[in-house]
Symmetry: C2
Subunit: 203 residues, 2 copies
């Protein structure tokens, strides 16, 4: 539809399995660029600079803020997290689709500034199933699980603002559905300025 | 996503071949309900009541207006044209998708009143090709063709308000693209109130 790529805002509550859905999707679409966030928090064991995050200093982060170099950012428990603009813009201008995996508040900020973006929310089949998945991970204490479920409820209640909602019940179906909505998003009227111009021009 | 069907607003300029695209799509989706308009104009040779249009009297049409029985209506060259609500609502409540083939002004009215509807515009590859198709029909004089092209330019310029735009270059591809966007529309966040409610309820 357009020679430029699609900016895809991708969200879903903790425990819904969005990482797994995304990994499968990206494996099938190697040309899609996955945007890596920057953070000022320290890397955890096994995390690598440029893979999980860009680990940068507070000064570097504040410089990015100052020169409008972030699509969005937020501060949690004393650490900054944000989406560097430059790699996103570079990939889009090469005609590649870009996926931002981002929580609902950040998604709202990005969508406000980028109305041409397409947004996708991964939904659990039920809160019951989400609870089961979070408990089965067995990596967090009860209070943390409870807090994550509260956040999840809040995020799910806002899912209607997303262009598309895909339920992650079976992994294969969720990946196929994601594929199908992102394919269709290429036909969106909100990205059609250039197409309309070209059709009218060619008289 | 929802037990109710999708309301599909379907437009495109005269000569783009939307009738052919629609015919192929409906043949492949016999469960989709094609909404038939009502009009006060006289039937042309070969037209049948309940197939091309519901041919009704001016009094019957005004009664429909008075009792809010139309999704939209307009008057052209002294004749009324409109979309009766009842058959549309009945099909939607049975979970069937409903297609309204309608021009851009009517589409805007329907979309204003029915924000949950999905809208699709069939686009010619170029004005040059649209001109060729209109001339090749060989059914209209030059002045009519020129008038149709003016209307087409105006409609194409507004195509960006549609959720989806599909270019009718090859018929098979246009039908496949239509299929793919209408499938994806089933995942739209704007139809997800019920899904969100059910996920949150089932804790």
């Amino acid at each position: 539809m357009s020679s430029k790529g699609l900016l895809i805002v991708f969200s879903g509550p903790s425990g819904v399995g969005k990482g797994t859905v995304l990994k499968e999707y990206l494996a099938a679409h190697p040309d899609t660029h996955y945007s890596i966030s920057a953070t000022t928090r320290a890397p955890r064991p096994g995390e690598e600079h440029g893979r999980e995050y860009y680990f940068i200093s507070r000064e570097q982060f504040q410089e990015l803020i100052a020169k409008d170099g972030l699509l969005e950012y937020a501060e949690y428990s004393g650490n900054y997290y944000g989406t560097p603009k430059a790699p996103v813009q570079e990939a889009l201008s090469q005609g590649r689709n870009v996926i931002l995996e981002i929580e609902v508040q950040g998604a709202k900020r990005v969508l406000r500034e980028n109305p041409q973006a397409v947004s996708l929310f991964i939904m659990p089949p039920s809160m019951k199933e989400l609870t089961r998945r979070l408990v089965d991970r067995n990596t967090e204490d009860e209070a943390t699980v409870r807090r994550r479920l509260d956040t999840a409820r809040n995020e799910i209640a806002q899912a209607g603002i997303y262009d598309y909602i895909v339920v992650n019940d079976s992994l294969a179906k969720a990946v196929a559905d994601m594929d199908s909505v992102l394919h269709a998003a290429g036909f969106s009227g909100k990205n059609a300025d250039k197409l309309i111009e070209e059709v009218l021009k060619n008289a």
